[in-house]
C-alpha cells in the first residue's frame, strides 16, 4: 500500500507520515502542490491525502488536474475550514472524502483505509462475519455467540458499519456520516445512545464493542 501525502505544514506532515509508516504503509511526501501533482502523475498510489491550502498549486486545483488526466487515485482532502461549502466543493471536484483540522490520526487512517477498500472494488459480501458475530445484509439476520439477535434498523446499520471496520477504530463523526448520513456534526449524543443500546444486545459482557478514549469506538472480533 502506497500513500501520497501533500501537506506544507512540516509538523502535520511528519505526524501523518510517521503514522502511516507505523501502520505499514509506504509513504511519499510533497510539500507543495506542483511537487505533489508531479508525484501523483508518475507514481501509482493507492490513496492520496491532500491539504487544500498549498503553496504553488492549491489542493483543489491539484485534484482537478489529476481528474482531468484521468488518474483515479482516491483522494482525501484536509482543510482548516469546516464550512459545508468547502466540503461540498472538494467532493464535487472529485475528492472522495474530507477531514477538518485538527483531526486524530486514527480517524485519518480509518478514512484512508475505507477509501482504499472502496476503490479496490471487491464486490461487498452479503454476509459480514467478525468473531462470533454474523450479519446477513440480505436477510438482515444477526447472530451473536450462536444466538439470533433482533436489532432496530439503526442498530443494524451501526453494527454493519462497525463490522466493516472491525479491528480498526472509527470516530463518532464517521459513524454519523455513514449510519445517519449527516455530513456535519449535529452535536448530539445520539451515537452514544445507539452504541449503548447495541451493546446491551450484542455485547452484554463488553468484550467486542470497545470505547477508545479520545477517538471513538472499535469492534474487536471475539470468539
Amino acid at each position: 500500500m502506497r500513500v501520497l501525502v501533500v501537506e506544507d505544514d512540516a509538523k502535520i506532515a511528519s505526524f501523518i507520515v510517521q503514522g502511516f509508516k507505523q501502520s505499514g504503509f509506504a509513504v511519499d511526501h510533497a510539500d507543495d502542490g506542483e511537487a505533489g501533482l508531479a508525484l501523483a502523475e508518475t507514481t501509482d498510489y493507492d490513496a492520496a491525502v491532500v491539504d487544500i491550502m498549498l503553496p504553488r498549486l492549491d489542493g483543489l486545483s491539484l485534484v482537478r488536474r489529476l481528474r482531468a488526466a484521468r488518474r483515479p487515485i482516491p483522494v482525501l482532502f484536509l482543510s482548516a475550514k469546516s464550512s459545508v461549502d468547502d466540503r461540498v466543493r472538494g467532493l464535487e471536484i472529485g475528492g472522495d472524502d474530507y477531514l477538518t483540522k485538527p483531526f486524530s490520526f486514527s480517524e485519518l487512517l480509518a478514512r484512508v483505509q475505507a477509501l482504499i477498500r472502496r476503490s479496490s472494488r471487491s464486490p461487498e459480501a452479503t454476509k459480514l462475519v467478525s468473531g462470533d458475530v454474523t450479519v446477513d445484509l440480505v436477510s438482515r439476520e444477526v447472530m451473536c455467540a450462536g444466538q439470533p439477535v433482533i436489532l432496530q434498523p439503526r442498530e443494524f446499520s451501526l453494527l454493519a458499519f462497525l463490522l466493516r471496520h472491525a479491528g480498526r477504530p472509527v470516530s463518532k463523526t464517521m459513524i454519523l456520516e455513514n449510519v445517519w448520513d449527516y455530513s456535519f456534526d449535529p452535536q448530539t449524543n445520539v451515537v452514544d445512545v445507539v452504541v449503548s443500546r447495541l451493546r446491551t444486545k450484542i455485547d452484554p459482557d463488553r468484550k467486542r464493542l470497545e470505547t477508545v478514549r479520545g477517538v471513538g469506538y472499535i469492534f474487536r472480533p471475539h470468539v
Partner: protein
C-alpha cells in the same frame, strides 16, 4: 490659509465654473459681433451694387452723358453721397463724381481692381477699402459691355465704430456677470460642500482621538450629500455594533475557555507526574484529547453564532418542504427519545414550502428538538408541528416539561447561558443561541411561550 483656500473644492468648483462661463460668453459675443458686422456690410454692399447696376443701365442707353444726366437729375438723397467713377479700358478715369464732402486725395486712393477672372464670374465686385480708423469705403466695380469699368462707392462707418456700443455693453455686462458668477458660485459651492467638510472633520476626529462614537452632524433632506452622510453614519453605527459584538464574544470566550483549559492543564499535569501508573497516564491523555475536542466544538459553535449574528453567515437558499427537515430531526433523535421514554409526536398535516438554507435551518430545528428532549422528563411528550399562513412558515415544538419561567425567557437565548436547573445537563448552552441566530439570519424569529397545560412551546417563524 492660502493653501487651504487653494485646495478648497468649493473654490475650485467656483473658479472652474466662472472660467467656463467666461469662455461661453466670449464665444457668444464673438459670433454675435461677426454676424452683426457681416449683415451691416452686406446692406452697404447691396446698396452700392444696386446703384451700380442702375448706373450701368443708364450708361448703356446714353453713354457717359446719360450717366452724368442721371446723376444730376436723380434727387434721391443717397445719390449725392455716392462716389461714381468710369474707367476706360486703358485704365484712365473718364468720369469722376465724388460727394461734396470728399476731398480729391481720397478719390485718388480708391484702387482700380485687378481684372482677370472676376468679370466672368460676377457682374459686380465689391471691396471695402479702409480709409482711417473711423471710416471705410464700400466700392462696387461693375464692368461695362464696352470694356470700361463703372465704380460706385460710398463712405461708411468702419466696423469698430459701428460696433463700439455693443463692445462696451458686453464688457460691462460680462464683467459684472463674471464677478457675480465667481462670488455666487463660491458661496453656493461652499454651502453645498459643507457636508463633505463635516465628514472629513468627523473622520479626522475618529482617526486622531479614537472616538468611535463620533458621528457626522447630518443635514436633513434627500440630496446626494445628505444621503452620503446618513449612509456613512449608518456604516459607523453598524461598525460600532460589530465591534461591540466582537468584544463581547471575546470576553465570553476568554471566560468560558478558562475553565476547560484549566481542567485540561490539570489532567495533563497529572499524567506527567513521576512514578504514575502508565495506564492511568494514558487515560489522562485520552481525557486531554476529549477535552480539547470539546473545546474545539465550543469554539466552532461560537464562531457559527457570531457569523450568523454579525450577518456574515452565507445562506445557500433553496426551496423545500419544511416537513422534510422536521422528519429528519425526528429520525436523528428517535433513539434518544426512546431512551428517555419520551414520545416524539409529528403533526405535519400539509406541505410547508420555504426558501432557506436547508443545512442551517436543519441545525436550528435539531437544536430545538435536542433542547426539548433534554428538559422533558421521562414518560413525557414532545410535539413537532409545522404550519403556514400569509405571514410565513412556522415550526412549533411543544413539550410537557417544566416550561421556561417568564424571567428566563429572553435569557435562555443568550450565549453560554445555562439555567440553574440545567447545570447538570451536558452541553454548552449554545444550542438555542445558534438556533436563534440562524432564524434571524433568515429574517425570522424564535419565541418561547408556555404550552397549554404547562411545558414550553418554542416557535420558529420564517417570513414568506
Amino acid at each position: 490659509m492660502f493653501d487651504r483656500l487653494r485646495q478648497s473644492l468649493a473654490l475650485r468648483l467656483a473658479w472652474q465654473y466662472a472660467l467656463m462661463f467666461a469662455l461661453c460668453v466670449g464665444v457668444l459675443f464673438g459670433v454675435l459681433y461677426w454676424r452683426l458686422a457681416r449683415s451691416l456690410e452686406q446692406r452697404d454692399q447691396e446698396t452700392v451694387e444696386h446703384r451700380a447696376e442702375d448706373f450701368a443701365a443708364a450708361f448703356e442707353v446714353g453713354g457717359p452723358a446719360g450717366l452724368s444726366a442721371l446723376l444730376h437729375n436723380d434727387t434721391a438723397p443717397d445719390v449725392r453721397t455716392l462716389f461714381v467713377r468710369l474707367i476706360s479700358s486703358d485704365n484712365t478715369a473718364v468720369f469722376v463724381a465724388a460727394p461734396p464732402d470728399w476731398i480729391e486725395t481720397q478719390v485718388e486712393h480708391i484702387p482700380v481692381p485687378e481684372w482677370g477672372g472676376i468679370i466672368a464670374e460676377r457682374k459686380t465686385q465689391t471691396v471695402r477699402v479702409p480709409q482711417n480708423a473711423m471710416r471705410d469705403y464700400t466700392v462696387a466695380s461693375h464692368p461695362l459691355p464696352n470694356g470700361w469699368l463703372l465704380q460706385v462707392g460710398r463712405l461708411t462707418d468702419s466696423r469698430p465704430v459701428l460696433l463700439a456700443p455693443l463692445k462696451k455693453a458686453f464688457v460691462g455686462v460680462g464683467a459684472a456677470a463674471l464677478l457675480l458668477s465667481v462670488g455666487g458660485g463660491t458661496l453656493l459651492a461652499w454651502r453645498a460642500t459643507r457636508p463633505l467638510r463635516l465628514v472629513s472633520e468627523t473622520a479626522r476626529r475618529i482617526l486622531e482621538t479614537g472616538d468611535f462614537a463620533a458621528r457626522v452632524p447630518g443635514p436633513a433632506g434627500s440630496g446626494e450629500l445628505a444621503t452620503l452622510v446618513r449612509q456613512l453614519n449608518t456604516l459607523l453605527d453598524r461598525n460600532a455594533a460589530h465591534v461591540q459584538v466582537l468584544r463581547d464574544t471575546l470576553d465570553n470566550l476568554a471566560h468560558d475557555l478558562r475553565t476547560p483549559l484549566t481542567r485540561l492543564r490539570g489532567t495533563a499535569e497529572l499524567a506527567l507526574q513521576d512514578g504514575g501508573d502508565p495506564v492511568e497516564a494514558r487515560g489522562a491523555l485520552a481525557d486531554c484529547v476529549n477535552e480539547s475536542d470539546r473545546l474545539l466544538h465550543l469554539l466552532e459553535r461560537l464562531l457559527d453564532i457570531s457569523a450568523a449574528e454579525g450577518g456574515a453567515l452565507k445562506l445557500n437558499r433553496s426551496q423545500f418542504d419544511l416537513r422534510s427537515l422536521v422528519e429528519r430531526a425526528a429520525d436523528l433523535y428517535r433513539e434518544v427519545a426512546e431512551e428517555g421514554k419520551i414520545a416524539l409526536v409529528l403533526e405535519l398535516p400539509v406541505a410547508v414550502n420555504v426558501s432557506a438554507d436547508a443545512i442551517r435551518l436543519g441545525q436550528a430545528i435539531n437544536n430545538l428538538v435536542d433542547n426539548a428532549l433534554k428538559y422533558t422528563p421521562s414518560g413525557g411528550r414532545v410535539i413537532l408541528g409545522v404550519s403556514a399562513d400569509q405571514a410565513g412558515a412556522r415550526f412549533v415544538i411543544t413539550d410537557n416539561g417544566p416550561g421556561v419561567p417568564v424571567a428566563e425567557r429572553s435569557a435562555i437565548f443568550r450565549r453560554l447561558y445555562r439555567s440553574d436547573s440545567s447545570r447538570s445537563q451536558r452541553g454548552f448552552g449554545l444550542g438555542l443561541s445558534l438556533a436563534k441566530a440562524i432564524a434571524e439570519a433568515h429574517g425570522g424569529t424564535i419565541t418561547v411561550d408556555e404550552a397549554p397545560g404547562g411545558g414550553a412551546c418554542f416557535t420558529l417563524s420564517l417570513p414568506v
